[in-house]
Symmetry: D2
Subunit: 357 residues, 4 copies
């Protein structure tokens, strides 16, 4: 890109870390798509031709009844979705580790008055049995009514639901009058890891509404509220606008998803990130004193190693402590993580472990 | 841009209309800036180097105490700002025609529980006298407490506040214990038209917090909450996150504003749009049966002409009826509107008027 | 009542004023009813025998489909009702002078995120024509959707809707997909003045949900959300609880309404208050310099007189300025206002007017 | 009370149960106080002489800086209090079993957008160590900021905090920038059981704001938000009104508290209820197959016995299952529970246990 601009490059584009998949930038095919949609006038607020076409893009993946509503970010996708599932007096059942519970500054409660009924889990996954800890009290007005379940695929702990597990949860929920939301900010990573089309573990498994993530898979910005059960999940357009998630130049959100989902860019990006996480896990498994503490099923690796080693490592590579108490750390791979990045990082871990011994 | 992508161009980039300045696309210098900030990893959620530098960019325009908080859109900027000005029991005084009142699906009320105390105006502008219609009742708990005033610059009706008018409003408000928000989704148009630096009619005039617009001036997306009075306006970072307006890959918002505001791109874009509106107003003033009904001070032209003429025109060019009852129409010029566009549109108006006569 | 108590009488029970009908105390028949329901245990939160019977009481007045939900106060009744009529993105059309707009500290917005679309009126009354000022924009997500109309009977300005006027509003609203709420904090005064049974201007006229007032008509406390259209107005029980309006010892609210509505206590109290207002209006009409500025149709009298006279009068009798700008005052009669009170007050007005001349 | 009324007695005043202390009615001294405050006009909404005097009543118990704001019910007192402690982005730490979490239909979230950070406990009591499970993340905008702690005295599980325990919690909270709310819907039971004046375990222990309960201790209705730290806890009057908790005829709330707290009525009522719970616990301790499962420190008894026995017992006496899974039941004593009630109930338990064996 040689067009002049008054902005300046302020960072070293060769530096990558393991802190988060949204520390990465934009995939070049996505930038190309944005440029393609540029110039001329298009109706704002979603009546453009890219957003119109986006409906076909999502229907191809999620079935003919699917409806796609682009929004700005994952918090927005989640809170818009949950508002569509819940009356004013409703509550949503979620894992204690769910992003909607721990990482959104209370947005569900504060923006929409939604009560969360949370459940502690080992691995970030709910099950019918776990859900039953909170699924009770219907008809009793003293209890916020549990009328929705929210699950995350892949979870915040890097684990996956099989299609069968999702189906069991949806059936359990539906039998009790509850609808199901899936937080899919890393849905592509899940699909790549499972080796199954999206709809097998969403639409076909009974999920009613989905937050489909793009940002963590190489987009500049953008997520999509995907309505899978339009009979039960309605009025997203009003909820999106009143929740301040309606983009004016929506064509540029929609065209990114077209670029991601028309061919296999979504799979290339997510599959690569998953593979890099696996490569990292394998590289460090042999290092004495480093333990991989959770299954590596998507693009996250959780590890235990001496705290001072982690702190020294953090001076060389960005990553986060996941649990300040135990010293557990989280390493995320992104679409742009290279094999060389992984190998160098694994080498650095070895070095710093050696300095400790 | 020749990088391959699976997305396809779906629109005719030669077609432009007069419906809204956010029907336009992205200025090429802005796209170049986005590309410049790409590649490599940058800390998400605003701790990147572009957002750090953005503070200097905004301080250069708004004074050394200014703080810049990028958000997704104008509704977000307004509602985040207003929450910072108001306690839970507070109300904001605004013109009845204000965007926060008529065009945000009730987001201030619904997201933040903010009561609007509205005032009918002739031209979209408040004044100390008008404000006094609602500025009363402090200490009376039966009345939502008027603790903020919100004005729009340039207004939704295409009019402008002079620096002196803004100052009078701010002094009036401050004397009564109210803080002042300015909705500046078209602040660049105002500055270009007034021929005055931003700070003369914002910081120096006493405005406490500002929604600074980028989208309507050539950005892909993005607005900035600019705190001008950091002693009184605090905790934007929490309000932004809980209001679902925190971009993960914020570097791409910040670098757009760097490109817009470091040199004169903001002025070129806004000044051009204003000039095109003026050109249009002048071109149609001579047409019998067409009346320009409001002062053309920024990039909007409001006109009265026979309804059937407007309806025929709408088949050729996109634009909106502003008032269904009177038939008043609004024509907006954008940064990419050309002289040829204006001349052709004026010609079309003449033609359609002629077919009526 | 001679039972000992550590509390002491701290006021002069002979003093009455004209400030508000809720400055009055409790009618002795109401206190007797409370005592009757006392002693022994009754299920809390509305499953008691008095609340069960209350359903019959309200059905006798409002028709066999009516449902009665006691709440604490009028603000609560209004906000619970409106939440039942509106989805999250809904707005309610109301007169600018409506209590829900000006006298509830923004509770509808702050507790429930409800946007008010207000209309200036001469006399506090809406009409189909006035409603149309705000009844538009359905389907446009930029506008909070007008899905309810709220009217007050008798109005905050002491005026009345005829049954025909209510019916016209309800038909107009229903044809446009809007439901109708009536704020009936003084519904008994309206019925007494109209000389018509409640249901003629509520159920039979098409009102969907009603706030039925008791406090201003002699109760200790308590209002009732009366659902008149149970097909459209649902789930009040959840809304009441989450809105903090569910009384634990509800039997004592219900038995008060039983005492009020089983015989003619409601009519005696309201009819008397109305008569006292009329007596006052007639007594002052002859006084030079005093103008009755609004029709006296219920228990309120609005008057214009010299401000200094009002201020001297206020040292002798409690009442309020209604409009600080014009000096208009409001005089309210209550169920316990006596003819002697009126005559003495009229005499005082005459005296103070005389001291001015 | 022989005054005529159209209401009828519909219940047997001799029947009492063990379901809840708010199944009881009104203490006769309270009814006498209400009658005393009746007749004549008093300013509405809290400017009456009874509410003025109430300030002295509460200062006598809670110290000279205390401020008393009567409200309708406990949910209202809690949510008004919490709003005063928390900014829009704040969260409150509470026990998982807290009434604000499990028994208010999500009112804190729904009315006020408050996020609850809950902690599982054995006995309903928090401690500095337990609080630390949730007391972290200040400055991180992704986490709703923990800025308040709420404890219940006596707890929902019938247990008590000692003054020292309250002080330790308050010091711990204050050191971390958190304020402390105490839900005292049964504060009188706590004081009676501890044998200590209220202020020792509230004001003097560092509590910032208190929900003081009256309804469960013999009032008709009414609770009081008691501000103990007026430097930090402000603007209750606005929060009370906008939260729909402002009683118009407030004199009748205030005079009840005067009657309760001026002499020793509060202590007689609460001490008696506590004694009746102890009597019950002692009476059943000897019954084979019945286990008292929690310490009996106030007026609640929690027991385990065969489920079919409980179900047979429920046909004779009202009470609730506390935990449907384990079959644990809760028996509450009230101010009007008699020794004969206890003895007869214990006898009934024995009988039903015998029918099982």
């Amino acid at each position: 890109m040689t067009h002049p601009t008054d902005a300046q490059r302020r960072h070293d584009p060769a530096v990558r870390g393991f802190a988060s998949d949204n520390y990465a930038g934009v995939h070049p095919e996505i930038l190309a798509a944005i440029a393609l949609a540029n110039d001329g006038h298009q109706v704002a607020y979603g009546e453009d031709q890219y957003t119109e076409h986006l409906q076909d893009v999502f229907r191809a993946h999620f079935g003919p009844q699917a409806e796609a509503y682009p929004v700005f970010n994952g918090t927005g996708a989640n809170v818009v979705s949950l508002q569509a599932l819940l009356p004013r007096w409703g509550a949503v059942i979620a894992a204690g580790s769910a992003h909607i519970n721990v990482d959104e500054c209370g947005a569900p409660e504060k923006v929409a008055g939604i009560k969360l009924l949370t459940i502690p889990t080992e691995d970030g996954k709910l099950s019918p049995e776990l859900i039953d800890q909170q699924a009770w009290g219907w008809g009793d007005e003293h209890r916020a009514q549990p009328l929705a379940v929210s699950i995350t695929q892949s979870t915040e702990l890097g684990t996956l639901y099989t299609p069968e597990e999702v189906r069991a949860i949806c059936e359990h929920a539906h039998e009790r009058g509850m609808l199901v939301h899936m937080d899919g900010s890393r849905l592509a990573n899940a699909a790549a890891s499972l080796g199954r089309p999206f709809r097998e573990f969403t639409t076909d498994a009974g999920v009613d509404v989905l937050s489909f993530g793009g940002t963590k898979n190489g987009l500049l910005f953008g997520e999509v509220v995907v309505v899978l059960n339009p009979e039960k999940v309605r009025n997203i357009k009003y909820l999106r606008k009143m929740s301040m998630q309606l983009a004016s130049k929506m064509r540029f959100v929609s065209v990114q998803f077209e670029a991601l989902l028309t061919g296999d860019l979504w799979l290339r990006n997510a599959g690569h990130a998953n593979a890099m996480a696996t490569r990292l896990a394998e590289a460090v498994r042999g290092i004495d004193g480093v333990t991989i503490v959770r299954p590596v099923q998507a693009n996250a690796v959780f590890a235990l190693l001496p705290r001072e080693v982690s702190e020294r490592l953090q001076k060389r590579y960005r990553f986060y402590f996941w649990d300040e108490h135990t010293g557990e750390v989280r390493w995320m791979a992104a679409f742009d993580t290279t094999e060389a990045d992984i190998d160098a990082f694994a080498e650095a871990i070895k070095e710093e472990m050696g300095r400790t011994a």
